[in-house]
Symmetry: C2
Subunit: 204 residues, 2 copies
DNA sequence: CGTTGAAGTCAACAGCCGTTGAACTCCGGC
DNA sequence: GCCGGAGTTCAACGGCTGTTGACTTCAACG
């Protein structure tokens, strides 16, 4: 569709016509990565699902790793989420952060991205580091810090453990009552836990 | 050492002498499976770590899968754990179940078994089913049922999500404040959450 | 002694992996 | 018309995978 104008000054030859195989590859790859993790999917499987030659993946993305990285690239801006979460009463902080996570996890695209990283993290330390830095350090630690609570890093870790557990239990292990639960019920239940982890007195 | 008596009546030939390579293989394989999951470790890596020829693994165990299955075979009897957990006041039920899990996770051998299954579950649906059936259905559901609480399956799922999250956050993602936390502190914190999931009124 | 069978070794199989490079098609710009 | 480059295809590379079968070694038995 469209794609008839000159894209860059000096270039000649055939312009980026229809075809759209690049997007086909991305759309085929994300669900596959989400259900098998990086190592659980082969380039040939992705190509077959996209109806495309395997070599085309390298033509567009350079490597399997680069394709994966582009697909899971930063689904959100942690600092913005932190700002939004803090932009209201402190009492509903748990609710806002859990709402954000549950909604993201149940979004068709964003959820697949997160699950893909989660599954990959089980076998690849670098993917685990992404999760660790992004959610615990950049997202939850600033929140715990903003509350001026004691031991903010431990509190962030506790919240992370519950949110990661929810993601794993619902989307990886597939525990039925969680899969079938209403979004609002999950939010209400887990918001209370997260709120407690952020404000409750801690032992030790 | 020892191994001088006749082991089985009709057998002749070389008796099971020292060597002990079978155990060497098992001891080398468990930590490897724990840190990479089933697919993240090769037979040749296990053999090298055990100081043994790869073919010897097949001589003793038949297949990589059979080796894995034998290593992670039922680390505990769920029914016994349920009985022990119920053999005291209902108010400390959360504490007992969390104590069991945290202790198991931090045990050098039992912890590696559980983490091996957890990492494998990320890529293999069958391993995920093991976790689902063992922890949620055989362990936590009977407990929730014994409390005569409403929606026992959802309550068991909630507890599972927190316990799986703790295992993932501490042993797979490696979130520092959890790794460094004292066992008793973790128990105190998570016991309260689990207890609430079992007894708290639920929305919906 | 010689026989036996488990323990252990070696080399190889077929199959899949990620990746590469050359070739061909096609079409907009000169 | 010609040309060049993007889109696309094909075949192949080296390397690694789980697994197998034939072979050697050797302590315990009759």
């Amino acid at each position: 569709m469209s794609a008839s104008g000159t894209r860059a000054g000096g270039r000649t030859g055939r312009r980026a016509g229809p075809g759209g195989s690049r997007d086909d590859i991305a759309e085929a790859a994300l669900p596959l990565f989400a259900s098998g993790g990086f190592d659980g999917v082969t380039v040939r499987e992705i190509a077959a699902e996209a109806g495309v030659d395997p070599a085309l993946i390298y033509h567009f993305y350079g490597s399997k790793r680069a394709l994966f990285d582009e697909l899971i690239a930063l689904p959100f801006d942690p600092e913005e989420v932190v700002r939004n979460a803090l932009a209201g009463g402190v009492d509903e902080l748990g609710t806002r952060i859990v709402t954000f996570m549950v909604t993201q996890l149940r979004d068709p695209v964003l959820g697949e991205r997160t699950v893909a990283v989660l599954r990959t993290a089980a076998a690849q330390p670098e993917a685990a580091a992404v999760l660790r830095e992004l959610y615990s350090r950049r997202l939850l630690e600033p929140l715990a810090h903003a509350l001026r609570a004691d031991r903010p890093r431990l509190r962030a870790a506790l919240c992370s453990s519950q949110l990661i557990g929810l993601a794993m239990a619902e989307h990886v292990i597939g525990i039925e009552p969680l899969v079938d639960a209403a979004t609002e019920d999950l939010i209400a239940i887990y918001a209370a836990t997260v709120q407690r982890y952020l404000t409750e007195p801690l032992p030790g």
